[in-house]
Subunit: 200 residues, 2 copies
DNA sequence: ATAAAATATGAGTGAGCACTCACTCAGGAG
DNA sequence: CTCCTGAGTGAGTGCTCACTCATATTTTAT
């Protein structure tokens, strides 16, 4: 029996251990026995800090959603759209990579669980999309972007970035083919900007 | 006890029932009891036709992968690239939608199972990517596309299409916001083509 | 018609797993 | 020091679920 750390600390340790195990095996295949082993505590200890195994998942999901978006979609006089786009994409990519294990669990469970699916759509997809849409519309009003449907156009951009995250972080595709982040960002930006500005 | 159908027919019935249940709940949360109920047979009958529950999954996965790709990346004198692109995207979108429940299961399991992950990458991602890459390179050689990295560029296109499939088929996003397929294809094509051709 | 083979059934089985609880003990208060 | 609180422990519990098998029914062969 060790009491070297505070209850809050222990709680965090268990949560992190659960995150690692879930990331490896997925929620259903993870056992509380393995989480306990990973955290270096007895199985019973988990249930002193969390009501159920589910509670671990819910807590983990909540922790992803508190991440702040530092780079924002914001027009400013002396910054070209290209730079704004690059900042935002770089920021989002970094955020995705840092939280990849948790996002993966979140996404995987959202595929089959109503409650998590709603939260995923609200707090990940829509959160990312609406700000971008507003920016897109403003630029269209300014005449600098073509009059394509902004909701569709914004999702195209999300898809471009998303597929690389899914490839390297969710599917471990780096083993087969590794992409350089900056090269990816360069390509996305050049294709997308030319695409939404139109020819000439 | 009914014997109205042949063994092969019964097998297919069970497989389809399993597909429906897996699509609703995910593989782990689906029980053989529920699959049996869905198929209208006794639980034991499942195990006369399939060794294990896993075997159902493997068989389902295999059945997605036999789908032929009817529209192909193929240059022809009198067809503009835009039309080829539209045909291929339309074909892939239709294919994804038809097989969406199975693809969802396949993808969800691939996130955490080594063996399925490898198959998913090989037989879904790479199968789609390599033909497109070859086409892209040819067009670049012809001078009709900019010299961006073809592997990245092709994945951008896949991401654009993919996000709409994930949105509507995997996450049930239509409940929140429904996109018209043709509008989506139009937008993707116009953004992408202008993007990879470059300005002017 | 009868035997043999194939197929269907569902109660039963055992393994695995989330969760409990009676007990242990570390650390703090007085 | 003594007592008390609450975190830690892990064997135990009850339930779920994939899979089995003895038995029943249908089909096929002779």
């Amino acid at each position: 029996m060790k009491r070297s750390v505070s209850a809050a600390e222990r709680r965090r340790e268990i949560l992190q251990a659960a995150g690692r195990v879930f990331a490896r095996k997925g929620f259903e295949r993870s056992t509380t026995a393995e989480i306990a082993r990973e955290a270096g505590v007895a199985e019973g200890t988990i249930f002193r800090h969390f009501e159920t195994k589910q509670a671990l998942l819910i807590d983990l999901v909540a922790s992803v959603l508190t991440e702040p978006l530092t780079a924002v979609w914001k027009r400013s006089e002396n910054r070209p759209v290209e730079e704004i786009l690059r900042d935002v994409l770089r920021n989002r990519l970094a955020l995705f990579r840092e939280n990849a294990p948790l996002l993966k669990i979140f996404f995987a469970e959202a595929l089959f669980r109503e409650d998590l699916r709603d939260r995923f759509i609200d707090e990940v997809v829509l959160r990312a999309a609406t700000a971008a849409e507003a920016f897109f519309r403003e630029e269209q009003a300014r005449g600098s972007l073509r009059p394509v449907n902004p909701q569709i156009a914004v999702r195209c951009l999300m898809g471009m970035l998303g597929i690389f995250v899914v490839w390297s972080e969710f599917l471990g595709g780096d083993k087969y083919l590794r992409f350089d982040d900056e090269a990816v960002l360069d390509t996305i930006i050049s294709i997308y900007l030319d695409g939404v500005r139109g020819r000439g």
